[in-house]
Homo-oligomer: 168 residues x 2
């Protein structure tokens, strides 16, 4: 998404008002690669602005989505996640932590897919399921992440239960 200042400007252009809640949320979402849920973002926001309502978080996030500043994502976990990256990109999910990472794929057009006859593709979303190996004692030098060929074990997805239930 654009910088908080730019988003603020777009808001005014549209006759929307600049409230402290919105400004806080702009800054919390800017460059936020954590793909937070509304609840998660609300929790963080509450630290800086006690009393801010979850309702407002949802509302503002919806506005940002309508304006194309962020993207909504239906994760596998039931809760909506908000993605401040609106570039064409994909995702990797760590099965252990549930963390979600942005992934750039540059040759999607080369996929050979047997699509239903007459199906017009508008866009493709790819999710890499796996796990992030934790090699602690290594200087986390934010590796250049150079292009790499996917090596997916041809595995059937392991049966996984849904996760909406109580956490009790």
């Amino acid at each position: 998404m654009h910088s908080p200042a730019e988003v603020a400007a777009r808001y005014k252009e549209q006759g929307r008002r600049l409230t402290p809640q919105r400004q806080l949320l702009f800054s919390l979402m800017h460059n936020n690669a954590s793909h937070p849920t509304a609840e998660g973002l609300h929790e963080v926001a509450s630290k800086r602005m006690p009393g801010i309502s979850l309702r407002t978080v949802y509302q503002t996030l919806d506005e940002l989505s309508d304006m194309g500043e962020i993207q909504l994502m239906h994760g596998d976990g039931g809760a909506l996640r908000f993605d401040s990256n609106v570039d064409e990109h994909h995702h990797a999910v760590c099965a252990e932590t549930g963390e979600l990472f942005d992934v750039y794929v540059d040759n999607i057009e080369s996929l050979r897919a047997q699509l239903p006859a007459g199906f017009e593709v508008q866009n493709v979303s790819i999710v890499f399921h796996g796990r992030l190996a934790k090699k602690k004692s290594q200087t986390t030098t934010k590796s250049p992440a150079r292009p790499q060929t996917v090596r997916a074990k041809s595995t059937k997805r392991s049966p996984r239960r849904t996760s909406r239930g109580s956490t009790k």
Copy 2:
């Protein structure tokens, strides 16, 4: 999933009982490519067995999933969908109807993805978003669906609202 008879056999092997409800659901899911929701399946089941409980549908579907006979899918629409196809495959979603189709992709390994350093891919799921052109007056000759190269307009996903809310 396996044939109703085979699934029934597996159930017995595991000391589970063969109830009319389960048998009905086995047959309704077998070769079912519609990716039904629990509610949808319950509706169909109710016609053949009035009074069957939605609770039982959920329960049986969960069992089948645990046994690896079907797969659970979190669609974009909020409701779980059940997929009787457990082969390694992917999906295409029609934006108009919400219909879900199975798609086979045969060269996933060739994707060039910039994954997070240390990320081990276990499996990949691809969803083609688009629409199914409806050419009526054509003999729906179940086209051979020969491999085809994806031609996705490099489009940012259009902002879409969530869809859990009331239908009122």
